[in-house]
Symmetry: C2
Subunit: 315 residues, 2 copies
């Protein structure tokens, strides 16, 4: 019986690999450094080695494995299994699926890390039991994923839910992508940190000036301590995040919105403000039927999401 799946979380600094049963219970897990500078084939071989390790540690034969799921930074093409390019991995137009399928003779599924996180939350995290959910990750950038009618939604070029690049302020600041006023340009951790730095460099009075380097972490911290400028920055940025979430509710009418990523760790201040914007901007029925909650999976979210991808896709 094929009662197990393997999940692989590909990251710029480490590769995590886990073997799990079909309920997401991890049997064995292995983490190795990526050593991206060594190039694509050595990294691929390290992935293969990691898979062999979890099989051996879990005392499970590959014949008992139903599927392998891989979460990777993008852009990538989930349909063809090709990693197009990523800033911190050595893969350029690299077919990661085929060599693993050939090696292990098991179906292999690839998806980007935001989708994988969404699937993880849907199957084993905060959104367990829902049919329609949207996942936001708010950290350096803003990304997302959606499960609609019980299935992950990828779109035509595997780029669906580039929710960080919807325009929420048409004449707002320039985003890294080139557009003006993207959600990511006004509501990411980077955006919060940037506005903190601008305050430090200006004449305004703010306790942010006590820091050598200002990131969103310091802005949240000083806002909590009562610094008026920090409070204003946080409130403004979270207002835009709330607009992004409210727009997702108007479009998806989901049962749940899950927010993960570094910024979400600030907790109550984030969720209170987002809820306030939703209550102001959304239709009442939709706002009331949609729960907005923090991500439920912890530090292993990446590898658990990859496990969930393997289970969902091989159903």
């Amino acid at each position: 019986m094929k009662n197990y799946v393997i999940g692989i979380d590909l990251g710029g600094t480490k590769i995590s690999c886990a073997i799990s049963d079909l309920e997401g219970q991890v049997i064995s897990q292995n983490t190795v450094p990526t050593n991206a500078h060594e190039g694509d084939v050595p990294v691929l071989n390290r992935i293969i080695g990691s898979v062999e390790t979890v099989l051996r540690d879990g005392n499970i034969s590959i014949d008992m494995v139903k599927a392998i799921g891989i979460g990777s930074p993008g852009p990538l093409d989930a349909k063809t299994g090709i990693i197009i390019t990523t800033p911190n991995l050595p893969f350029k137009n690299f077919d990661i699926v085929k060599p693993l399928e050939e090696k292990f003779n098991v179906p292999v599924y690839l998806d980007n890390d935001a989708n994988v996180a969404a699937i993880g939350e849907f199957m084993f995290g905060a959104a367990k039991g829902t049919e329609n959910m949207v996942y936001f990750t708010v950290s350096t950038g803003v990304g997302g994923g959606a499960v609609v009618n019980g299935k992950v939604y990828r779109g035509n070029t595997s780029n669906a839910l580039e929710i960080g690049h919807i325009t929420v302020l048409p004449d707002g600041p320039r985003c890294g992508c080139g557009n003006l006023g993207c959600l990511e340009a006004v509501a990411s951790g980077t955006a919060i940190g940037k506005r903190g730095k601008e305050a430090v460099e200006s004449k305004v009075e703010t306790t942010l000036k006590n820091y050598e380097n200002v990131t969103s972490y310091e802005v949240f911290k000083e806002a909590a301590a009562g610094d008026a400028v920090s409070i204003e920055i946080i409130d403004s940025c979270l207002n835009y995040l709330g607009i992004g979430v409210a727009n997702a509710i108007a479009i998806f009418d989901p049962e749940m919105i899950v927010i993960g990523g570094g910024v979400s760790k600030a907790g109550k201040v984030v969720f209170d403000k987002v809820q306030q914007v939703i209550d102001k901007r959304c239709f009442k029925t939709m706002a009331e039927s949609c729960k907005v909650v923090p991500a439920g999976l912890g530090t292993d979210a990446g590898v658990i999401g990859a496990v969930a991808l393997a289970i969902l896709e091989s159903k």
Copy 2:
């Protein structure tokens, strides 16, 4: 063999009913006045009469009918078959599905008119052959529907794709829904007409002053004739429409966006501006892989959409 379906388009002034084969070829069609003032039961009876007429005219027995589809203004609950309320129909929390199922002993499917139009375009109109498409209707208001992974997407409370109520200008004009800066408040036909009227009532020089009543029609007309104020209004409103469409591309990564409704009839000026905004604001891969086209179904779009709903849901 059940080789036919029936589509019903419920409107405030008329009820259209058609019987069609499973390829959407209409066999017979019937249109009667709604006479909404007579109340719910008489209107229901007129719907039943219209169904009987198309069966008789088409010489088709009800045993040969696979399903009935109904498109109605909303809000409604597609899951339970209940029309919650509509401005121009006598139905309040009215179960329209059950009496028709009992009468004809055939599965009956209800959906709101924007979803039905989306399904119609997906099956028989401009989006035929796609797997993922988003439909915008831009007229008095702005509405929408989406087909994802080959299925219509309704969301948790049947309100998905309230695309007219995404915020595109956070401090923009008040929308009828109460929110500020909804797409509908800045890009609908009503919004265009309102800005035309404001111009007439102001000191600005504009040929719109030659009209007693200014709607979007006059603003488009005078813009085409070279009136600078009208050109500015059209350009600004279509810029917001473009932002709405660009946001839908970032979220759905669809193969196609179909734009219907009165405003889309202005043609090239609409589609050129929308495309320009997409090219400016969207990721290149997504922009290039997504066609933006006018609706393909004409005046019978409502009833053909209802036929398509019946076919799609009974598959």
